[in-house]
């Protein structure tokens, strides 16, 4: 009996909630460093704060052992520029990534990734994660370094991305947390930040939480707090029919509560107006179809008759060998590839001369045209059997076997069904020809109104060289920080923020919680369980998504953005004030909807503040159609002060301008805490 409906059909009553219900019961705890979110960033933060001697608490809505977007694995470690084989310096790589994103990226975050993500990887190896070819299965492969046995992906010349067998990454991190005595609160969602005197903009002194099994309430005091939660997800798209909540690349628990909490506390954000397209449930299982992208890079693709699709370098030169797909073009120093650093060209869909510098080899860009002419017949297939043995095994055995959400859903399920990469060619979906310009073949052309927050280079908390936000006591790591993120960014910034928060906590005053603030939060959190009727979370979620699509969608303008804000204000006072929850799970999802209301408002405020369109932010204003005029080449910031939105700005490269030092290296040396 595995289906809930079976209970009813058997004649049993619906089973009682499996956990004791303890609404409004108080729990209090305190730490030197309080970490909200136990994903990759949160775990590395916890380990490094604990190593500095801090008493650490980690709070996670799921269970740390598998929670977060990398919960079930990782297959490649990006921008590990300090590994012994890498030919690109952290400074050069940081500049290249920022340039490739048109300057719309956070240099502090990227530099920390380039500078210490390899150290974070070495930490993981110490915890038992396999990061080398210890079995010598790839001896002699082009991508293996014979001395260190490290294996690389993408650019085999420059070796900045390490292939890792990370399917057991989270269990290893979880074990390390336990060993260091970190106190873990699983199944507790953080609901708000507590500030000194309950004042907006004051020092952060802790957080409140809700147990999503029992409904009990938590008050956490922290001398320092690290936000290691996520960007808002499913803000424009709510669709469970096709693949459940697997319609983004993110853990379904990620609603963006870290954003909403920090906003309410008065922290400053930037680049929130950036967004990207999202096909929702129309997508296929990531890396589960024939494709030549990321984890599958650079798999040979053939058409229905077995005819090979040519690969070309950035200059359009046809590449004759498989080996050349992993090498820069003549005259090109290195190419960029991998989540978060290279996909802007694909997500923006408009060729921009800047992309040329670090563009990777790819399938020939005239493929759509040649499909239309009948030169290539659909469907396309990933010709794994046609790949050299080491490459085939690296793609399917190593990367698909270890990437998040691919070990079981792709490797295990497909091989159990008889798929054999030595013999079989995996089919790509039959999309309109233009879709094949973007090598992520699991994703069809999305409906224009369906969006998601910026992924490659999205909005987030403004931070300084200590990874401190604009609020005293509040640090940030991973996706919470301004700019793009991936697994290794999360690990590196978590590692750094853990040290910095522990350092601050050593001399920080004891946190004093404002009881009024707690009382107000408690009333907000439990209101939905006091109602039996009204609006359910699904209706609320879909309604919020609709407002985002209409008023903050593909095209924006002052008048309709203001209407969107009006709708949200009104929904808060009517439908949302009438939302019900029948158990702690529904309460969690209802609170997620409240979070989305705030996140949506934040994005609308940021969108109103930018009176210009932007190619790079995928941001189109009907009333200000000119894209990226010179005077708008700056970060727009937004924050709340005394309940009012304050708009500001920051220059590109603010991290290299006074009072900061003029170079990455000097700033890092000054602040890194090593």
């Amino acid at each position: 009996m595995s289906d809930w409906l079976d209970f009813v059909q058997k004649g049993d009553p619906a089973p009682e909630w499996p956990y004791p219900i303890r609404y409004e019961v108080h729990n209090e705890d305190s730490a030197d460093v309080l970490i909200l979110g136990g994903g990759i960033a949160g775990c590395h933060a916890a380990i490094n704060a604990a190593k500095k001697g801090a008493k650490v608490i980690v709070v996670d809505t799921g269970a740390v052992i598998r929670s977060g977007s990398s919960g079930t694995g990782v297959d490649h470690w990006q921008l590990a520029c300090t590994n012994p084989c890498c030919k690109i310096s952290p400074e050069e790589m940081t500049d290249a990534v920022i340039e490739n994103l048109g300057q719309w990226e956070c240099g502090i975050k990227r530099y920390i990734q380039c500078r210490e993500s390899y150290d974070a990887l070495m930490d993981c190896e110490e915890m038992g994660v396999q990061v080398r070819d210890v079995e010598d299965e790839f001896k002699g492969a082009e991508f293996r370094d014979e001395k260190t046995k490290l294996m690389f992906a993408y650019d085999y010349e420059n070796r900045y991305t390490v292939r890792v067998c990370g399917a057991k990454m989270k269990p290893a991190l979880h074990k390390a947390l336990k060993k260091l005595g970190v106190k873990i609160y699983n199944r507790v969602m953080a609901t708000s930040l507590l500030t000194e005197g309950g004042r907006q903009g004051a020092r952060v002194v802790g957080a409140t939480g809700l147990n999503v099994r029992t409904g009990e309430f938590h008050i956490f005091r922290g001398k320092a707090t690290i936000l290691a939660m996520s960007i808002p997800t499913r803000l424009w798209v709510f669709n469970m029919e096709l693949r459940g909540l697997g319609n983004t690349n993110f853990d379904p628990n990620l609603a963006g509560a870290g954003y909403a909490m920090a906003w309410d506390a008065g922290a400053e954000f930037s680049m929130l107006e950036a967004s990207t397209l999202n096909p929702g449930g129309f997508m296929y299982t990531p890396y589960g179809v024939g494709n030549p992208h990321n984890t599958w890079y650079a798999c040979t693709m053939v058409d229905a008759n077995g005819k090979e699709i040519p690969w070309v370098d950035r200059d359009g030169r046809v590449l004759e060998t498989v080996s050349e797909r992993y090498r820069p073009a003549p005259g090109q120093k290195f190419f960029l590839l991998g989540g978060g650093v290279s996909a802007s060209e694909w997500s923006l869909k408009i060729p921009h001369p800047i992309f040329h510098k670090t563009r990777s080899p790819n399938l020939t860009p005239d493929l759509p045209e040649r499909i239309r002419k009948g030169e290539f017949i659909l469907p396309l297939y990933a010709d794994l059997p046609g790949m050299p043995e080491h490459e085939r095994r690296a793609i399917f055995g190593l990367m698909v076997g270890n990437e998040g959400n691919t070990r079981v859903p792709v490797y295990d399920l497909y091989t159990q069904a008889g798929f054999d990469p030595d013999k079989d060619m995996l089919q790509a979906p039959v999309w309109p020809p233009e879709a094949y310009n973007i090598p992520i073949f699991s994703v069809p052309p999305p409906p224009p109104l369906w969006r998601d927050v910026g992924f490659c280079s999205g909005g987030g908390l403004v931070i300084d060289w200590d990874l401190r936000t604009t609020l005293e006591g509040l640090y940030a790591a991973g996706m919470q920080v301004l700019g793009g993120s991936d697994h290794s960014t999360a690990a590196a910034t978590g590692r750094y923020a853990g040290r910095k928060a522990a350092e601050y906590a050593r001399t920080a005053r004891d946190p004093v919680v404002d009881l009024n603030q707690v009382r107000t939060e408690k009333a907000r959190v439990y209101a939905p369980v006091k109602r039996k009727d009204g609006i359910g979370w699904k209706e609320l979620h879909a309604g919020i998504a609709r407002i985002m699509q209409l008023y903050c969608g593909e095209t924006k303008q002052d008048s309709t953005l203001k209407m969107g804000l009006q709708w949200f204000r009104d929904i808060r006072e009517s439908e949302a004030s009438n939302a019900y929850a029948r158990n702690p799970h529904e309460l969690m999802r209802t609170l997620d909807c409240f979070t989305r209301l705030t996140a949506g408002e934040m994005i609308m405020h940021a969108s109103l503040a930018r009176k210009a369109s932007s190619f790079w932010l995928n941001f189109t204003r009907l009333d200000y159609p000119e894209a990226d005029p010179e005077e708008w080449n700056r970060f727009v910031t937004v924050r709340l002060q005394d309940g009012d939105v304050r708009v500001g700005d920051l220059p590109f490269n603010y991290w290299l301008l006074p009072p900061n030092a003029p170079t990455y290296e000097e700033n890092y040396a000054r602040h890194c805490g090593l």
Partner: protein
């Protein structure tokens, strides 16, 4: 044919998402403990298999399968709209996830 028919809601989501074999399941609830969105919930009684309470919230991560202490008793299942096909290069045969009479399983393990 004389089985009772009940008034019950439609299936929550297309597909079964996660399938638990009650004969193999030992009721340890390891899957419950790792499932981030609480798709799988414990049921009353010791050693009873858990129940799929919120299958519509599954994101197909496979953590439940990874942590199963009685392997084979829990399986992830892609809904039909997610099932893909492949072609055997030598023979041109076409196979797909979910087909009748599939080829024998490929037992080669992944790396790591």
């Amino acid at each position: 044919m004389n089985k009772k028919v009940y008034m019950i809601p439609n299936p929550f989501v297309p597909g079964r998402v996660v399938v638990i074999d009650p004969d193999l399941c030992n009721g340890c609830n390891a899957c419950v403990e790792v499932c981030a969105p609480q798709v799988i919930m414990p049921t009353p009684g010791k050693k009873n298999p858990p129940v799929l309470l919120y299958p519509d919230e599954c994101w197909f991560c496979g953590a439940c399968v990874m942590h199963c202490t009685s392997p084979g008793s829990i399986t992830l299942e892609h809904p039909l709209n997610q099932r893909v096909g492949w072609k055997r290069k030598e023979t041109g045969e076409y196979f797909r996830i979910g087909m009748q009479n599939p080829p024998p399983p490929n037992t080669k393990p992944p790396i790591g």
